[in-house]
């Protein structure tokens, strides 16, 4: 009898964790969504100068002298020549994985690469080089996804901080995070 009661209490304790107000489609389990694609290759962290790229996920803009800079969320920074504002054009791209923010003073660009703060010497931006990296200087409370989801209103597997993400793949995921 005691055993039976204990078993009942246990079952009830499990059942009590269901949220009965949730609509049916929100029940626990796997759904179609996005899974982070991780890499262990830390060389992706190295800033790399490239030719002009098309804009994938436009982010913030920064003006400095006759140049403009614009984040491509998750991927890097577009360099724009604004010498003649009537004909502003993209002249290059500084690849910087996990980037979303930047600021410049003098010849130095301060930008994030995921949760790291990276200092880049841009005295000659075509030869941009990393001169300093401070780990976990911008951790965003560990709640931020640095690589944008390809679409809205989707479930995704929560980003695991401390791992290097390079993209998203469509997959069945536990609905632990939702992008509205």
């Amino acid at each position: 009898m005691q055993k039976l009661l204990f078993f009942l209490a246990f079952t009830v304790s499990l059942v009590s964790c269901w949220d009965f107000r949730k609509p049916i489609h929100y029940r626990q389990g796997k759904v179609w969504g996005y899974k982070p694609l991780y890499t262990t290759d830390s060389s992706i962290l190295r800033p790399q100068v490239m030719g002009p790229q098309s804009v994938k996920f436009p982010g913030k803009i920064y003006a400095k002298g006759t140049l403009l800079f614009q984040n491509d969320l998750g991927y890097g920074i577009h360099v724009i020549d604004n010498t003649n504002p009537a004909q502003a054009s993209r002249i290059g791209f500084i690849k910087l994985s996990g980037n979303s923010e930047m600021s410049i003073k003098g010849n130095f660009l301060y930008a994030n690469s995921f949760t790291d703060l990276v200092v880049i010497d841009i005295s000659n931006w075509q030869n941009s080089t990393e001169v300093k990296r401070i780990r976990n200087a911008f951790n965003q409370g560990n709640m931020y996804t640095f690589i944008p989801l390809p679409e809205h209103k989707v479930y995704y597997e929560c980003y695991s901080s401390g791992r290097l993400q390079v993209g998203w793949v469509r997959d069945s995921v536990y609905q632990n995070c939702y992008y509205p």
Binding site: L5, L8, A9, V12, S13, S16, C17, D19, S54, V55, P58, K60, I61, Y62, A63, L68, Q70, I80, N82, N84, P85, A86, Q87, A88, S89, R90, S100, E101, M102, S103, I104, K105, G106, F108, Y110, A111, N112, L117, V119, D121, V131, K132, I134, A137, F138, N139, Q140, G141, M143, Y144, T145, L149, C158, Y159, N176, C177, Y178, Y179, P180
Partner: protein, 249 residues
Amino acid sequence: MHLRKIISLFCLFLVLLASCDKESATTTDASNSTGTGGSLAKFTIAGNYLYLADFSYIRVFDISNPSNTVEKSPVYIGWGVETIFPYKDKLFIGSNSGMFIYSISNPSLPVKLGQAIHLRSCDPVVANDTVSYSTLQGNTRCGPAESGLYIYDIKTITTPVLKKLLPLSTPFGLGLADSVVFVCRGSNGLSAINVKDPADPKIMYTKTDAYYLDVIPYNNLLICYINTGIAIYDASDLRNIVKVGTLNY
């Protein structure tokens, strides 16, 4: 005896139900807030210091020697720090719960001077010596505040006083050029607001040719972040800005 057991079991059930309720609410909140990124700067430099708006802290870095950038102690601000704007020896911090003003007279240790708390909202800030301007957007992501341009008298820095609320739909980023505040309003355009008398702001004109998100007044130019690219205006005459170019995505 059975009845007593059943009753105690029922009580246990109720207790567990209540405790689980709270937990699932927190989890839902956490997943909702994922993907909330400010459309305005979280990095800013003042003097030899770099300040990052990092979730609920301001992170402080001495950059006097860039290749030997050194992190100082972070300063706790409060939940939902969204934007950071430097003006002279002050930092204006826009957060989900209000505007905070910090002194950086000692740049390695920002100290709180004053704050203006409002309904939960998104809240970028620009300022000059005596007045600060923020846009608040009341919506589902940001909270229930009334949308508009909030103008604060900051002559007494410790107690900002709301001087005027100019209701504006869908405000995003903003920029201050002399006595004109430019407010980006998404599909409602770019509004130029004369604030010569901050207590009596007047909308001068609104450009509705694009979806405006943010604006940078820079050397007589307005560099506008629009949803299809970057629009550049000649703003040497603030009464009549002229679009000189557009860089499309």
